[in-house]
């Protein structure tokens, strides 16, 4: 059985969610279940989704961060495979089909990711030049049991980097995470955001994630000696 469900954490994503969901509905293999977790949005996310007439379950929570919202959505799914997607990114139509085929040929694989390219909101056909390995939410497809083996996706206090932390924990647990060379997802860059400036939330989150990794290492060293 290769039925899959989709989790889309969403915060004030009313302007992009329709396009994102359309890329899910356009998959060559249709999902069994789609869950959007509204992480305390103040925009009309719910209204936009209701107007789409798509088979989407909308869950709501107080703003707690994208990791928390993703964890909540995963818990709401019962499909053997789970895909995650940011509320402003897009999948290419054969994304899931190719990733499930990868799983079929690699029974020991726990999670599969793919390459991605960036696109700018106002110029959807103008893709960024580089294909990069997408160790990220929008590229990830996991076997359901992996979620409970690794545990919740934890938002670093005051920062981003929750997927880095979760993926690092999955690696440390010895799980096989595969990166497909194919570009199967597109990451949205907003107008005016191309200058890569300092981002305090990113920096703070990454530093927390690095600290967590060092604390885990110290703990496991203490536990084995």
């Amino acid at each position: 059985m290769s039925e899959y469900g989709v989790v889309i954490p969403a915060f004030n994503a009313a302007s992009t969610i329709a396009e994102t969901l359309a890329s899910v509905m356009a998959q060559s293999l249709k999902p069994r279940d789609i869950v959007v977790v509204d992480d305390g949005s103040s925009d009309d996310l719910a209204g936009v989704i209701a107007a789409l007439d798509m088979p989407v379950r909308l869950l709501r929570q107080d703003n707690a961060g994208p990791g928390s919202a993703t964890t909540r959505g995963i818990a709401a799914l019962s499909t053997p495979f789970i895909a995650t997607l940011d509320a402003d990114d897009l999948w290419l139509p054969d994304k899931i089909e190719r990733q499930l085929a990868h799983f079929a040929g690699s029974p020991a694989t726990s999670a599969v990711f793919c390459h991605l390219r960036t696109f700018r909101s106002e110029r959807p056909d103008d893709l960024g030049p580089e294909s990069v390995p997408g160790w990220s939410r929008s590229t990830m497809l996991i076997r359901r049991e992996v979620a409970s083996a690794v545990g919740p996706i934890t938002d670093p206090p005051g920062g981003r980097g929750e997927m880095i932390d979760w993926i690092a924990r999955a690696r440390e647990a010895g799980l096989a995470l595969d990166m497909m060379d194919a570009v199967l997802a597109l990451r949205r860059i907003r107008p005016g955001s191309l200058s890569y400036g300092r981002d305090a939330a990113r920096d703070r989150g990454y530093l927390e994630v690095a600290r967590f990794a060092m604390l885990r290492r110290a703990r496991s060293k203490a536990g084995t000696s």
């Binding site: 004030n12 990451r187 907003r190 990454y206 927390e208």
Partner: protein, 138 residues
């Protein structure tokens, strides 16, 4: 010619934070991160805030030779660079932190998250549009 004695963080790619006195430094350009012993954390905090090496040596908490070796490593890792600025005073809480330190000066480099950090697709969105947004605190 005088020895460079005051340092500054080498570039905007070097970000750092102190967690309960433990310094963590990250090089965003490589994804490598750095952890310190307790004395190393104190010395990093001092040097990165413009305290001179001489002022640290004067505390008596750290041997000069050990300090010179440690600073050489920080320069080699590209975390610090010599600065031409006037030194800042050594804050009192750092003096006591260094006096209380029990471990020798050390810094460790880690690259286990490097491939993840370098490509992490954080969406650089405007605050009202979506993440990254901290819960409206104000």
């Amino acid at each position: 010619m005088r020895q460079p004695d005051v340092y500054a963080v080498a570039s905007k790619d070097i970000v750092f934070e102190s967690f309960d006195g433990d310094a963590v430094v990250l090089d965003l350009s490589t994804g490598k991160y750095f952890g310190f012993s307790d004395s190393g954390s104190g010395v990093w905090q001092a040097l990165s805030s413009g305290v001179s090496a001489a002022a640290l040596a004067e505390t008596g908490a750290i041997a000069s030779a050990e300090l010179a070796t440690f600073i050489a490593r920080l320069l080699e890792f590209g975390l610090l660079a010599p600065a031409d600025t006037a030194p800042n005073p050594l804050p009192g809480d750092l003096i006591s932190q260094l006096a209380a330190a029990r471990e020798p000066l050390s810094v460790d480099v880690h690259d286990d998250l490097a491939d993840l950090i370098v490509v992490d697709p954080i969406h650089e969105v405007d605050e009202p549009l979506g993440w990254p947004a901290v819960k409206q605190a104000n």
